[in-house]
Amino acid sequence: MSQIDIQSSIQKTILKQQKAEDRRKLVLNGILLMLLLLAPFVIYPVFLMKILCFALFAAAFNLLFGFTGLLSFGHAAFLATGGYTTGYLLSNYSGLTTEMGIIAGTLMATVLGLGFALLSIRRQGIYFAMVTLALAQLVFFFFVQSSFTGGEDGLHGVPRGELFGLINLEDNLNMYYFVLAVFLACYLLIQRIVSSPYGHVLKAIKQNEPRAVSLGYKVDRYKVLAFVISAALAGLAGSMKSVVFQLASLNDAHWHMSGEVILMTLVGGMGTLLGPVLGATLVVNIEYQLGQGPLRDWVDPILGAIFVITVLAFRSGIVGEVQKFVRKNIG
């Protein structure tokens, strides 16, 4: 057999493998989509919406942390900014339709994200995390002090209103499918970003920043853009959350929330697409289910233990470990 033949046969097997993987992914995604569409008939819709909002938040965070390698410890600021902006606008201007409020919240978070990024992007590692944390604390105190947020009482009674002035969102099912649609759109957007040439540059920056610089990429610009997209999506998650729950509260701005999203991403599997979604589902479920049961005094220690175990034993999170297993054994 000539060399060309060998090469082409290798290429064929790679192609075949890729096709098989694509098919697997397609089937998996199809099943997941069906489950998501049918879920509100079995599981309480508000609870599902909460999971979706946090899943989007975690996915947004993962875009920055998992794919670009920037650990932001201030993402709560974007979640809260989105939530408060949307909540305030919808409760004070009754002419606004719900989607306008959500878009406004997202834009506000985007602008804030740009500000954060410009101030923090030159630092790396722990310094970057600390700068974002400090900025997020500034935002937190701004929300504590401002009168429009209701301080520690929170902003309550946000009307869900009507989507495009047509669809009544007071109905939980309508609201669910709206949130699901937004979530899926964002998920596809993240998927697209990650697999685009831009996404590959991000991954290159994560793996070896000096090399990316030496190849001629303006690394800072790439990072700023990633940060801004991530902030925008986090803001969108916050905006939707404030519409779903009809409230925005200081919890969203607190640094605990920035920590929780790291937990969600790490447990689910950072740098994977499904990981943060699964992580968010798990964390929200643990908080809820344990909060009801006899272990309710132990929610925080249990979450802490899970975090420690994940970091020590399953670095790549649940989805990451499953992917490794599948690659090794099923190929």
């Binding site: 729950f245 409230l247 909060g291 309710r296």
Partner: protein, 404 residues
């Protein structure tokens, strides 16, 4: 326009519900949801022991009312309005919960009562402090039972000024709660002829109060008032005690302090502090008898919140017994029509804005020499009559008050 539409639909819906549900108990069970902070900052003042108080009330009814079983479900709100809102929504919409008890952090309470109003069920608020709960956030679907910030900021300053504490120094937590306490206190002190020497704001939360306490001492004011809550208050008290603030002749007034906080601080540290409370376990024979029972169950003496949870649940179940219905408006009306006379208070009554008005007490923490036992911590200096204690309806911004 939309507001009118909303009001109309909710009025029609509640009218239909009242009509339909009269004189019967839905599903032949009375289901009570207990929502409180079970693991965080407010665990001690309500928490698991509040659940015990609720269970004691249910046990007193033998677990049934009018032949219907009484069930309790519980959840930890983790002090998060999101968790509270989704939990309560699920309870009311899916699990047929009739009444929500507990309700501690103000943000949690306001979020929960909005959901309760939407579903036309009933909420009995015991843990929260914010007086806005029966003011701008009032609903026809909840009752605020134990206390609120109004008597706290009215009772203590009025009494102290009358006893000669004329010049005041206020230490304020720098957020909405602290600001509103500060302005209430300032108003009360000045209207009683005292003066505010100075005030200082500390960030929320603050672990180290030394510089603030030193400034307060240096001000030479008769009274140092703490317009903060929780860990901030206990930290400030500890620091004040280390610097010998009360021993040097200044009065320390804490505006929001629970028995469990004082117990944790100990009489040595907390001695001499004046505070306002809605109830004290040693205030009379009935209260003592009940708190002995409570102590047998839990091993600690009850706070005013624990007592409020027990008392309000008894009132609630009594109202169901009397009307034979668990419909929220029928029960609320019955509760409003019945004066409250039990271990919690005498001649308490529930106003149209949902505020239960009752006598409050000005207390002072005993010195270690005066204290006979671990929990013998307060001496009651004065009873603040119900009419003076709570915000008068004429000042109310509540939509349910007829004059509005």
């Amino acid at each position: 326009m939309t507001i009118m539409k909303k009001l109309l639909t909710s009025a029609v819906a509640s009218a239909m519900m009242v009509g339909g549900a009269q004189a019967e108990i839905s599903n032949n069970t009375v289901k009570i949801g207990y929502l409180a902070d079970m693991s965080g900052t407010y665990r001690d003042l309500a928490g698991p022991n509040g659940l015990s108080a609720l269970e004691m009330a249910v046990a007193d009814f033998g677990g049934t009312v009018k032949g219907a079983k009484i069930e309790i479900v519980t959840a930890d709100d983790r002090n998060s309005p999101d968790v509270a809102s989704s939990t309560v929504r699920r309870w009311l919409e899916n699990d047929n919960v009739d009444m929500v008890a507990g309700l501690v952090a103000s943000s949690v309470t306001i979020a929960a009562t909005k959901v309760i109003e939407e579903n036309n069920k009933l909420g009995l608020v015991n843990g929260s402090a914010a007086s806005s709960i029966t003011n701008e956030h009032c609903t026809p679907n909840h009752i605020h039972y134990t206390y609120d910030t109004y008597p706290l900021s009215v009772g203590t300053p009025t009494a102290i000024v009358k006893e000669g504490g004329k010049s005041w120094y206020i230490l304020t937590a720098d957020y909405a709660f602290g600001h509103s306490l500060e302005s209430d206190v300032t108003r009360m002190v000045e209207s009683n002829g005292g003066e505010i020497v100075d005030s200082i704001r500390h960030p929320f939360p603050t672990p180290d109060f030394s510089s603030f306490i030193l400034q307060a001492q240096a001000s030479g004011a008769d009274v140092v008032a703490l317009a903060n809550a929780g860990a901030d208050t206990t930290n400030a008290i500890t620091t004040a005690s280390e610097f010998g603030l009360t021993q040097s002749g200044q009065t320390l007034a804490a505006l929001l302090l629970f028995l469990t906080d004082v117990h944790a601080l100990g009489a040595e540290t907390a001695q001499g502090i004046q505070l306002t409370t809605g109830w004290y376990w040693d205030k009379d024979k009935e209260a003592r008898a009940w708190s002995d029972r409570f102590m047998k169950e839990t091993g600690v003496r009850p706070t005013m919140v624990h007592a409020g949870i027990y008392s309000s649940t008894i009132q609630y179940l009594n109202a169901i017994e009397a009307t034979g219905s668990d419909d929220s408006q029928t029960v609320r009306k019955q509760m409003m029509d019945t004066p409250i006379n039990d271990m919690f208070t005498k001649n308490g009554r529930i106003r149209e804005d949902g505020r239960m008005v009752h006598d409050m007490y000005l207390a002072q923490v005993k010195t270690p020499e005066e204290s006979n036992s671990e929990w013998d911590l307060y001496k009651i200096l004065r009873t603040i009559p119900a009419d003076e204690a709570f915000r008068p309806l004429s000042d109310s911004k509540c939509k349910l008050v007829s004059s509005n």
